[in-house]
Amino acid sequence: MLGYLLIGLASGAAYALMAVGIVLVYKGSKVLSFAQGEIGAFGMFLAWTLHDRGMPVALAALIGVALAGVLGIVVERYAIRPLEGRPPLAGAVVTLGIALGLTYTEGTIWGFNIKSYPSSVGSASISVGDAVLSTTNLTAMLLAGTTAAGMYFFFSRSRFGLAVLAATADPDVARVLGVPVTRVYRFAWGLGGVLSGLAAVILVPQFGALVPFHQTLFSIRALAGAIIGGLDSVQGAIVGSLIVGVAESLSRGYIGGGGITDLVVFALILSTLLVRPRGLFGARA
């Protein structure tokens, strides 16, 4: 039991990184992004090439994460910003297209066969009760915790964090008040990309596969976490993702594989939206 719980928390923490990115992008530009998985994956593919050419694992991964951040900024500039004033559906669809486009671009460049990318933090592991936690698991939890704390201080203490909140609440009023709305959008997507990259660094070694589209499938779990948390709440996204991770781990442990975990994720989203549409921490619509 404890083992499944801890493993669940560890994968939940990785989803949480992505989910925070989704919430950030949603808060920062009112776009429900389906690209948060594949942006990080693209960074990892670049890292894979660097590592393949002899660069140390951790350094290549770091560069991959940075490139994912740059990719986020590029996406914002050329695909999101032109959509201002269009219905929310346009933003969602464009991110879907980007997820698909990146998937097939990766497939064209690197192929669709499975690649592996080693853990950037070694492969040691410790036993806690009946659970075996790898250093990757521990790093995921540490990163998620750091992100949570960072976001908390960012939104409550920093001027720019407040600017982000203002820009989301009402872009036009924020502009009049001198908030650099464009910079806020760029920042949200850039940080969203970095978080997406970090999630990929954790998830790829943990599940042992670097394949196009794989991270987009993980992003459904992150979307589930974000929705359970309320879509506009950072701490909600983290709690929601942990719930998803634990539910997934428990169902895999006690019921079995074969798509059961996907069924659990689906049931979680459906029941959240039916019972409490604004999620655990979401603002009232």
């Binding site: 429900l32 389906f34 050329y78 695909a79 032109p82 959509l83 269009r86 219905p87 929310p88 559906l89 346009a90 969602a92 669809v93 464009v94 879907l96 297209g97 980007i98 698909l100 486009g101 998937t103 097939y104 671009t105 497939g107 064209t108 589209f213 499938l217 459904i220 979307l223 589930a224 929705i227 879509l231 074969g258 798509g259 059961i260 996907d262 069924l263 994720v265 689906f266 989203i269 459906l270 939206l273 039916l274 549409p277 619509a285």
Partner: protein, 603 residues
């Protein structure tokens, strides 16, 4: 369309099946503004249900019908959260369902034959690829027809209203939740039909036939085609599905193999289209068509319509007006009743703001009642209370019936219609469509069956069209029937909105700042129009106005609100000279008040 290359009948059939699935998605996205990222899963459900029925020896039509029912039910279940939320979160539900279907449902031995899949033999007389091609073509025709029917009936107008604004939709008498659910159901049913075609065309189905990529590629086809455009979907299918199959893999030794690159191209094309060609291929084709054959719509000069005030048509208009007034309303709603609308002690509180504080008003039958007050006084809030959009305590009775206890969408049936400060019509739709939408409560046939033409849909629609024509005639809009509301000049837009409200056959018409944004001359005309509405159409009017001289001229009685409280009521002369009203409007400067008094007398 006869087959150009019979040897390719099979390939073309598969393309037809996918186009059918894309058309089903178009009905959902284009008309209802809802997104399904799991449409491929609905197709798969249809395929396996039809496959199971076929394996048990049931004939093709029954298998297809079963697939439609299954697809509709599953889509409705997935779209269930749309009853509670407005956002795109439902799209995530459909995406998650797409994954569940692929990884779980389609892997079940009992349902899909497990990972080996399900095999069927084509029944007589459809054994040949060629015969099946025609069946698949008929299925696409069906999907096209359904999409067209949706657009032309009650269901599609309700979808469009919900897509535009759920709040406005209720003011037309449309219930948003059930409308969205119906959209999912119809779309899922047609997707199910596409699935049944798949299993008959291919003869086999495996979990990977209906993976999440299929769902996402269907989205790409619809978006590239131009959301809501049937022709666009066909064009985009031809471009993204047929072209890569038909172009040879090598031309003159050059390896191009479009088929392998098609998904990559489709995905990025999707991004490019959303960013820089929002109307998709459909809008390109329409523009091309207009250039080649001359524009068929929108060529009429709007200003000519206002000029046709020929005295000879007055008699005819009077008849038309009498025709509009004839609506099937319950006897209890037709009894003589001096007080039409009675609001008693209405209170509304938004957080810490008391928007309305114990306001009581009465509107008698056949009166024009003005509602004045500074910005933020609570005038529109009072309208919203009557319309059912603001949480209120107290009592609002219409012909003695308590409105606060009724569903928001029931108002239009009782005979209450309103206009909005910011345009209540659907800008993207024609005047006529808006007229028909406004008569939603009169379309007594079931929306779902109406799509298929059952339930007296044809007769009712014809009747609604006659009523719409009469209303357009009365308001001099006949020439502009096909014009998009968004393309009209502002004054005409306002006129169309009033005409639409009137076409619903209301007894009480509430106008929210009808004179806002129109010129002083037009405003003068508006006053006469209000009196005409009262006298010729026997309407009772409750009017919010900032233009005090205008309202003073036409009102039988005026209420003045300030910060949520009623500060004055009476005849125009009483209210406009009431010191509290004057102060509320003009402040305490003596000069301003003298100037205003002069302005009022000369108006």
């Amino acid at each position: 369309m006869p087959i150009a290359m019979p040897s390719k009948a099979f390939v073309l059939s598969v393309i037809l099946v996918k186009t059918t699935a894309a058309m089903s998605l178009n009905t959902l996205v284009g008309h209802a503004g809802q997104m399904s990222l799991g449409q491929g899963a609905f197709v798969g459900v249809g395929a396996f249900v039809a496959g199971n029925l076929a394996v048990r020896g049931l004939p093709l039509p029954i298998a297809v019908a079963g697939a439609a029912v299954a697809g509709g039910l599953v889509a409705a279940g997935t779209g269930l959260p749309s009853l509670r939320i407005r956002g795109l979160q439902v799209a995530v539900t459909t995406l998650a369902f797409g994954v569940v279907a692929e990884k779980f449902l389609f892997g079940q031995q009992w349902f899909s034959g497990g990972s080996a899949g399900l095999m069927i033999d084509r029944p007589v007389p459809f054994e040949s690829d060629r015969a099946m091609y025609y069946v698949a073509l008929a299925a696409l025709g069906f999907a096209y027809w359904v999409d067209m029917r949706v657009r032309g009936t009650k269901a599609g107008r309700a979808f469009a209203a919900v897509r535009d604004s759920e709040e406005r939709a209720t003011s037309f008498g449309v219930e948003p939740g059930p409308s969205k659910l119906l959209a999912y159901t119809v779309s899922g049913a047609v997707a199910g039909v596409a699935g049944s075609m798949f299993i008959y065309v291919v003869g086999a189905g495996t979990p990977s036939s209906f993976d999440i990529y299929l769902s996402l590629n269907l989205v790409a086809i619809v978006i590239v085609g131009g959301v809501g455009s049937r022709i666009g979907v066909l064009a985009s299918s031809a471009l993204l599905l047929a072209l890569p199959e038909l172009v040879p893999k090598t031309i003159g030794g050059l390896n191009i193999d479009l088929g392998r690159r098609a998904p990559l191209i489709a995905a990025w094309l999707l991004v490019v289209v959303v960013v820089s060609l929002p109307g998709g291929l459909g809008s390109l084709l329409t523009r091309l068509g207009n250039r080649m054959f001359g524009s068929t719509t929108g060529s009429k000069d709007a200003s000519t319509a206002l000029a046709d005030i020929d005295p000879n048509v007055i008699e005819e208009r009077a008849r038309a007006a009498a025709f509009i007034r004839r609506v099937p309303r319950a006897l209890s709603l037709r009894m003589p009743s001096p007080a039409l609308l009675e609001a008693r002690d209405v209170c509304v509180r938004f957080g810490g703001v008391q928007a309305l504080d114990s306001v009581s008003i009465e509107v008698r039958r056949g009166e024009v009642v003005g509602l004045i007050g500074a910005n933020g006084a609570g005038k529109t809030t009072l309208f919203n209370v009557v319309g059912g959009f603001a949480p209120a305590t107290g009592s609002v009775r219409f012909r003695g019936r308590e409105l606060l206890a009724e569903a928001d969408s029931a108002r239009s049936g009782f005979g209450v219609a309103r206009t909005w400060q910011q345009m209540g019509l659907l800008r993207a739709e024609s005047i006529e469509t808006n007229m028909l939408l406004a008569q939603h409560w009169l379309a007594a046939y079931p929306a779902s069956l109406g799509i298929l033409g059952f339930g007296a849909a044809g007769r009712t629609e014809a009747e609604l069209r006659r009523r719409a024509a009469a209303a357009m005639d009365v308001f001099g809009l006949t020439e502009l029937a096909g014009q998009r509301v968004g393309d009209l000049p502002y004054g005409l837009m306002r006129r169309a909105e009033i005409a639409a409200a009137v076409s619903a056959g209301p007894e009480l018409l509430m106008l929210d700042e009808a004179s806002a944004g129109i010129s002083p001359e037009e405003a003068r005309g508006l006053g006469d129009e209000m009196l005409a509405l009262r006298d010729e159409l026997e309407l009772t009017l409750l009017v919010i106005e900032h233009h005090v001289p205008l309202i003073a001229r036409v009102s039988d009685y005026i209420y003045c609100l300030e910060s949520g409280k009623l500060i004055s009521e009476g005849t125009a002369a009483q209210v406009t000279t009431d010191p509290r009203v004057v102060t509320s409007f003009l402040g305490r400067s003596a000069t301003v008040r003298r100037a205003a008094a002069v302005a009022l007398e000369t108006a």
